[in-house]
């Protein structure tokens, strides 16, 4: 999964600028991949490769903001650093609201670009790690039996073992057993930790990864 090194994707219809940006980033140790249009990028990119996207706002065809929207639909968003020829405030606000990492005005200095790229790559790494944790949690959650999920839901609702046993028409001991199994299977050390895991799963359910079917 994390076999590839973080890469900086550059999308700009201006070839010389594309070349110059790639050169600069390469000199600072970043692998780069340059595309002349949003369509090229969508067609050719490897979604598994971590990194960030340096994106020109004005593009022929699909423009920068449209590409941002498209990427957000597809899955965990690659952090996007927008480049613009002029400081268009409404556009930058729109971009940032849609999750843009940064909005840089051309000509952009190496310092600010590299800082943005570093932040982007870090964010991506974090996002990718968080995403892999959620996937693990989901897998653990998937390993729970139906009975254990019911007990977990009752726990999450703050019910006591005795209440749960009463509700489920079982003895309290059985509930304790289930609870220990749940803790074990979800690799949770405390109930609080279990609750945290459950919260992350709930959150992830709002925006479920395509790779994982909803339970």
């Amino acid at each position: 999964m994390t076999a590839s090194a973080p890469t900086v994707f550059i999308v700009d219809d201006d070839a010389p600028l594309c070349r110059a940006l790639a050169r600069l980033l390469r000199e600072h140790g970043w692998p780069t991949a340059a595309y002349a249009s949003a369509e090229d990028f969508l067609a050719q990119r490897d979604a598994q490769t971590p990194g960030c996207l340096v994106l020109d706002v004005s593009l022929p065809g699909l423009d920068g903001l449209a590409l941002q929207r498209r990427l957000a639909q597809d899955g965990p968003a690659l952090p996007i650093i927008f480049l613009t020829g002029h400081g268009d405030i409404p556009m930058s606000v729109q971009a940032v609201k849609a999750g843009a990492l940064d909005f840089l005005t051309k000509p952009v200095s190496a310092e600010s670009l590299l800082a943005a790229v570093r932040a982007g790559v870090a964010q991506d790494a974090l996002a990718r790690r968080s995403l892999s944790e959620t996937v693990a949690l989901r897998e653990r959650f998937a390993g729970l039996t139906q009975r254990e999920r019911e007990v977990l839901a009752a726990l999450a609702a703050g019910k006591l073992n005795k209440q749960i046993a009463g509700d489920m028409n079982v003895v309290e001991q059985t509930v304790k057993f289930h609870r220990a199994r749940i803790m074990e299977r979800m690799q949770a050390h405390t109930v609080a930790e279990l609750m945290h895991m459950l919260a992350r799963l709930e959150l992830a359910q709002d925006n479920p990864p395509t790779a994982t079917p909803r339970p």
Binding site: D14, P16, L17, L24, A110
Partner: protein, 742 residues
Amino acid sequence: MHARRRCVLAMLLIAALMQVGTLWAQSAPGRNVLVLFSNGRLLPANVEIDRGLAEGLSARPEMRAELSAEFLDAPRFAGAAYADTMATYLRKKYAAHAPEVIVVVGTEALDFVLSKRAQMFPTVPVIHQAVAVERLRSLVPLPADVIGVPVDLDFLGTATQALRWHPAARRIVVVTGSGEWDRDWQARVRQAAAKLDGNVSLEFLAGLPSEDLRKRLGALGSDSIVFTPGFFVDGDGRSVVPIESARFVAAVSAAPVYAPYPTFIGTGVVGGSMASFVDTGRLAAQIAIALLGGAAPASVELPQSMPNRVHLDWRQVQRWGISPETVPADAVVRHREPRFWEAYWHYLLIAGAVLLIQSGLIVALLLERRRRRRTAAALAQSEQRMSLAAHAARLSMWVWDLGLKQNWLRTPSRRSTDLRTDHFTDFNEVLSDVHPQDRESVDAAVKRALSSGEEIEVEYRTAGPDGEVRWMAARGRADQGNPQRLLGVTLDITPRKRAEAQAEQDRTALRHMTRVSLLGQLSASIAHQLNQPLASILSNAEAAQEMLKREPVDMPELREICSDIVAEDHRAADVIRHLGVLFKRGEPLFAPLDVNELVRDTLELTRTNLLTRQVAASLHLAPDLPLVDGDRVQLQQLLLNLIVNAADAMEATPMAERQLTISTALSGPQIQLCVADRGPGIPGSDLDHVFEPFWSTKGAGMGIGLAICRSIATAHRGSLTSSNAQEGGAIFCTLLPVRATP
């Protein structure tokens, strides 16, 4: 001179002599016509008869009749012895030159000839005249060769006429002498009076002494008229001429006096019915000529008596109050003062004609003078009007006469009270006022107008004395009557020229302003255009810096970076250069240019703008287009405007359909440049209005963009039109003429 006059005199003299010679030659074998008068030769009646005879004979000169006159002088001389002596005398006198015709005048002469004829000229025919009718009757039958016309001493006719004129008269007083002749008259009167109206009585005053006669006649009233044949012996026993006795009677009579003889007319008698003695003479001459011509006396046709006509003395007619209307039409009126008109009618006619002609001339001259005055007044008025008009229009008028080598010039004066200032100048002087740069064209225009007769129309500059340059427009033509003359007017058009220049400046300023405003709309795009190379340069430079920190330096890469930096720098410079030209405010500069290149450069400026608006631009440029002559900045402005308009028109168009097409094509001698959009198009009713100034459908637009575009196209001798495409959207096309190949 004198010689000529003498010569003429001599010729006249010779002519006169020849005339005399001719007369003498004729008279030599002249045929004698002997006239024998009863009475004395001075008797007026005899004189008149003689005159009539002479006239009648001279009317036929070929008869060569010659008149000889003899007088018996009765009644002063009488008796048998006297008759014998006279007969002998006449026979002897005319023995050598015997008469061929004898004319006897009066009873005594006829009696004498009849009795003594045998002793004198027995075979010579005799013509008797002035013998009273009743007397002749007593002598019949006369010998066959004695013929004549008796005189009718017409007392009856005279009395009848006199009574008609004097209706109050009841008495006719007959005044005679006491001799035999007088007794004959008394008898004649008595006999004739029998035929008169019975109310009229006769009274005879015969042989009264003059004093008695004076008393008797002087006492006569209006109931009387007097008749007298005159007498030879008065009551005192003195011998008188009848005419004198008639004069006496007329002088003393208180009543009108009538008489039987025309010779008495003028003595104071009124007149009477009588025969003219001259006519008597003429008739005798006619008979004599007939006889001389060989006619037999019996064959000559003669009237019964001498015709009588009323003879009148007009003065007496007036004296006795006789109405002129009652005077017979054939009356012989004497002593009538001819009326002025009758006396001088020809003078009057001439004078009248002269007067008429003179008056006509005067009238004509007066009319002519009036006409000329009117013409002069009209001319002056016309001149004044013309001057006023010229002054109001600030026109200078000029007439340049090539023949007289003179140029008349009237310039509007500065003061309005003085409408005219006339100058006579030389044409070269006029030409010297013309700006040196225009002198040649003015001279050429004048020469052309003179040679071809065409109108001259030329604009030129003049340098005034203060060095101020003024624009003048001269217009004129050659005089049709005199091709050596040019007439025309000159107008100072400096204000117009200044206004034109100002308008052009304003137009340029407006174009510049709209261009700048257009560029303002494109500022984002332009900033992008500039930012791209700058960003590129910066990144390349920083990359190079980073490279240089490490050893060994990747030289090929560094070189590539440097060449990229240089290229991008050029790119930035190009953008600035293009923009700079568009922002610049300057005079239009026409130069050959490639329309396709213009399209590409202009599109480059709007590229980012179109990108931002999601408008896709496509070019359909015809290859190898000829060049056009144009101002790059203006044409770029035109195209920019069309592109921005097209993009604006597609705001509401779905993004995928926002298509802008720019095409070029060769269309005959023109190049067509079209910009098409896929917007809603232009409503049909607005197609005509879109080029009007301040016509705008955009909330923010001023509406002068397209108006300026059209003015740019027009300035390039081209056009700009709008239409709607079938597949939707508007198309703006401009046609620019291909540059004429030099």
